[in-house]
């Protein structure tokens, strides 16, 4: 093994039914470095971590760790821990109802001679372990009484207390505020100094450049490259994550779309200082009638959160929304729907489809809710509308009464889209409407967006694919680290411009 290298993973393959999740991925970790693992959703970051920690079994490749001569195979997280690999997961998996000390020593409590738990020693050791992460708290209190940040630190303290060479931090900062992140970084730097190598998984670009030494980028399950932090400017990183070489992008300019004078039209929605702690920092936005406005930013940048606040899918904690020249005092989505809004959520399975209801019922339900419980839409009208939208959106279903869960993902998405079009909304929010569906359907949906806007509907469009947004939107709002950082007019914008903006350089 090379000098100073703690961990190498070579040619790692992982196959799930029908998907090659990892394809010959390499990863090298040096002693005392913080190494960022970057990539968009589905790039294979979590899979790689889970192979390393023994949650998944790899199909091919080798893992070597310093101090063990033979290739390593971890069959379980416990085994990985024994081999010196500790993990702190995004969702803190500690028990809030037992004491801090018990959490640190769970399943390995120090014993007295007769086999009882040695509480005194355990509490003392716990205090010692917490000192290492710069924490001085009462370890006998239940963990749940402390803030999320402290719980996170306790999780780290537990992870490093068992002799670890490699510490994996999977999105540890997503629930922390700025000062708490600072504290975490101090701890990371201390650990680094003591020789622990850290793998840092995050969506926040800023944090990568603040604390990391090296970056490995994955895309679609493949290894893109390993870079020293100084060698890779932000724009380059974004381009590597999204999979376009920046230099080639100029050729991909979109065909110039006729822009009717959107700027002169009256505004349909205006939000001022709208915000929610832990979700998105206060922002202003103004949307004109008939406009297609895009939200762009990396995953977790706050684009969905922004849209959710406008629709009141999440209730804003501060700020005002003026919709169609009057104050929108929404308490629940139904209030926004009644005023003429519609919202297609990002997570189709969790928040979109109602799996055990039929295609017809799924199509009609928003209009029914808008009409009111006591005014059941007559069956003749339901059938007529259902047939019309199945035909219009080319939904492939055996019959209107087929359960929606039996349809393919793309067709489910069309049903959900149809559900909102039936209500004839004035302002339609589409959060990742084209994710996970085939190319043909994607183009259909893009065309539909343009057509609807021409007919006067205002549309907010969120997509991870910059190219498809450039083809459809008039204007782009750029988000980064849960903050709206700027707006771009789509005047011959290139992907490069957008990536520069996403990387924080508007």
């Amino acid at each position: 093994m090379e000098n100073n290298v703690v961990l190498t993973m070579r040619g790692i393959d992982k196959i799930f039914p029908g998907v090659q999740a990892l394809n010959k991925v390499d990863f090298t970790l040096k002693k005392g470095e913080v190494h960022a693992l970057m990539g968009e959703n589905g790039a294979g970051k979590s899979t790689l971590i889970k192979v390393l920690t023994g949650v998944y079994q790899k199909e091919g490749g080798e893992i070597h760790i310093e101090g063990i001569s033979h290739p390593l195979t971890n069959r379980s997280p416990e085994e990985a821990q024994k081999n010196g690999i500790s993990t702190v997961y995004q969702e803190i998996n500690l028990c809030p109802n037992i004491s801090v000390a018990e959490n640190i020593f769970v399943a390995r409590q120090p014993r007295t001679r007769i086999g009882a738990v040695n509480w005194k020693k355990m509490n003392k050791d716990a205090e010692k372990a917490l000192k290492k992460v710069g924490l001085d708290i009462n370890v006998t209190k239940p963990l749940g009484e402390y803030s999320v940040a402290i719980q996170q630190m306790v999780a780290i303290a537990r992870a490093i207390d068992v002799q670890c060479k490699v510490l994996i931090l999977d999105e540890p900062t997503s629930s922390l505020d700025d000062s708490e992140v600072k504290k975490l970084f101090d701890v990371m730097n201390n650990l680094k100094a003591s020789g622990v190598a850290i793998i840092f998984v995050t969506h926040f670009l800023e944090q990568v450049y603040e604390v990391c030494d090296a970056i490995t980028v994955l895309r679609n399950g493949e290894f893109v490259g390993e870079y020293r932090i100084a060698e890779l400017p932000r724009v380059q990183l974004v381009a590597k994550m999204l999979g376009h070489d920046v230099d080639d992008l100029s050729s991909l300019r979109k065909t110039s779309k006729e822009k009717n004078n959107i700027q002169n039209k009256d505004s349909i929605l205006k939000a001022t200082q709208l915000g929610k702690a832990g979700s998105i920092k206060p922002f202003d936005i103004e949307i004109k009638r008939g406009e297609v406005i895009g939200l762009t930013g990396l995953l977790g940048s706050g684009r969905s959160e922004l849209a959710r606040l406008l629709f009141c899918a999440d209730k804003p904690e501060q700020g005002d929304i003026v919709f169609k020249a009057e104050n929108l005092n929404a308490h629940a989505p139904i209030d926004s729907i009644k005023k003429g809004m519609a919202f297609l959520p990002e997570d189709r399975k969790e928040e979109g489809i109602i799996a055990d209801l039929s295609v017809r019922e799924n199509l009609m339900i928003a209009l029914q809710a808008r009409t009111g419980m006591f005014k059941l839409l007559p069956m003749s009208k339901q059938n007529e509308l259902t047939e019309k939208f199945i035909k219009m959106l080319k939904i492939k279903t055996a019959s209107p009464e087929t359960l929606i869960k039996q349809l393919s993902g793309g067709n489910q998405q069309k049903v959900i889209l149809g559900r909102w079009l039936i209500t004839n909304p004035e302002f339609l929010i589409l959060d990742e409407p084209t994710r996970g569906i085939d190319v043909g359907t994607k183009t259909e949906i893009q065309k539909l967006i343009v057509n609807l806007a021409e007919e006067g509907m205002t549309i907010m469009f969120i997509s991870s694919e910059i190219e498809e947004m450039l083809r459809t939107v008039n204007r782009l709002c750029v988000l980064c680290d849960r903050q709206k950082i700027g707006e771009l007019k789509n005047d011959n914008l290139s992907q490069h411009d957008v990536m520069t903006a996403i990387a924080g350089g508007v």
Binding site: I337, P345, E351, I353, A355, D356, L357, I365, G372, M373
Partner: protein, 360 residues
């Protein structure tokens, strides 16, 4: 000939795939055993001016369970459960009887108002459950456990009577007026028992309400995916709450019928274990116990099946203390023929047999 048998097979397959197929088969099976063991089972005659016979007895006695099953179906469809219905029955009955009083000459409070207040008390209990489950997001089993234990206690406090200068709770208070008996017995010159009309009315009203409004659709949406339901504008908190209120109402109605049958309030015995039978009725009706799609008709058939089972076991001479054992055996049979896992197992077995035959 070949096409005929194919048609027949296709038709049979369609029939077996109907949601109500298995519940109905279960009921028919129970009745079939009866007619073999007791040839006079289906005999109906008129004695003392009213209908008489095993079948009438089953229908009459299943009324409370049918009414309860209607409320329970809705609660289970939202993804919850209500184990307090038995205790709420006793509580509503105690309040109603307390108001009626034990005088031989007149009701202390007019009968209509007493019954109405009993029903309102049931709805209040349902509202309490609904508040805990829908608004406070407490697990339904735990939330309704409160009234499951406390309800009967409150009913006993209400059924207190002065004995030796002291108020002693948990007494049986009798109603002496004849007209109250009609509620659980017979109306003058009517051969069909009154509870039958009440149960039929409850089922019909529930059916109309569910089919003429979007309430049924909202309940299903709430039970299947309340997050998605909320985003399309359904107030799932309110829907869940309403279902518990309706369940409380049906429990009170069942309790008042039971008390009328014995013209007294017996806080210890009215509605005892009825919550279990009501849940079982919903399960026998082929409903998904984790919420979502539901069938009111299925639950009604399930309720009648349970009562048919009880009555037939009595008719075969099974004693009351042995009854639960036999009931349990039959319930295991009925529930397992409806189980998806068993179906899958049988399917894979028959496939395996088929391949073995081909290979042979």
């Amino acid at each position: 000939m070949g096409t005929n048998s194919n048609n027949f097979r296709g038709g049979f397959k369609k029939l077996t795939e109907m949601r109500l197929f298995l519940p109905i088969v279960a009921l028919i099976l129970v009745l079939l055993v009866n007619i073999i063991k007791t040839p006079t089972f289906f005999n109906v005659s008129i004695q003392n001016g009213v209908l008489y016979g095993y079948v009438i007895d089953i229908l009459n006695r299943s009324c409370e369970l049918v009414i309860l099953a209607v409320g329970m179906t809705l609660v289970i469809a939202t993804g919850g459960i209500d184990i307090s219905v038995g205790a709420v029955s006793a509580l509503a009955a105690a309040i109603c009887i307390r108001m009626l009083g034990s005088s031989y000459d007149a009701y202390a409070v007019p009968m209509g108002i007493s019954i109405l207040i009993g029903l309102i008390a049931g709805m209040a209990c349902g509202a309490f459950n609904g508040f805990l489950v829908a608004k406070m997001r407490i697990q339904a089993m735990v939330a309704t456990l409160i009234l499951f234990t406390a309800g009967r206690g409150i009913a006993q406090l209400i059924s207190a009577r002065e004995i030796g200068g002291k108020m002693v709770p948990g007494q049986i208070i009798y109603v002496r007026m004849e007209s109250f008996k009609a509620f659980g017995g017979f109306l003058p010159n009517v051969v069909v028992p009154t509870p039958f009309f009440i149960a039929a009315a409850v089922v019909i009203i529930a059916y109309l309400f569910l089919s003429k409004t979007a309430f049924g659709l909202y309940i299903q949406a709430t039970g299947i995916n309340s997050k998605a339901g909320r985003l399309v504008g359904i107030n799932s908190t309110l829907i869940t709450f309403l279902c518990y209120v309706i369940c409380g109402l049906t429990a009170a109605l069942a309790g008042i019928i039971s008390s009328s049958r014995i013209y007294s309030s017996d806080a210890n015995n009215i509605g005892l274990y009825m919550e279990l039978d009501a849940i079982l009725a919903v399960a026998l009706g082929g409903n998904n116990m984790s919420g979502g799609k539901f069938s009111l008709a299925g639950s009604v058939i399930g309720a009648i099946t349970i009562q048919a089972l009880t009555t037939s076991l009595y008719a075969m001479g099974v004693t009351a203390d042995q009854l639960p054992v036999y009931k349990a055996i039959v319930v295991i049979l009925i529930v397992s023929i409806q189980s998806e896992e068993l179906k899958r197992w049988l399917n894979s077995r028959s496939k395996k047999n088929a391949t073995i035959k081909v290979a042979g």
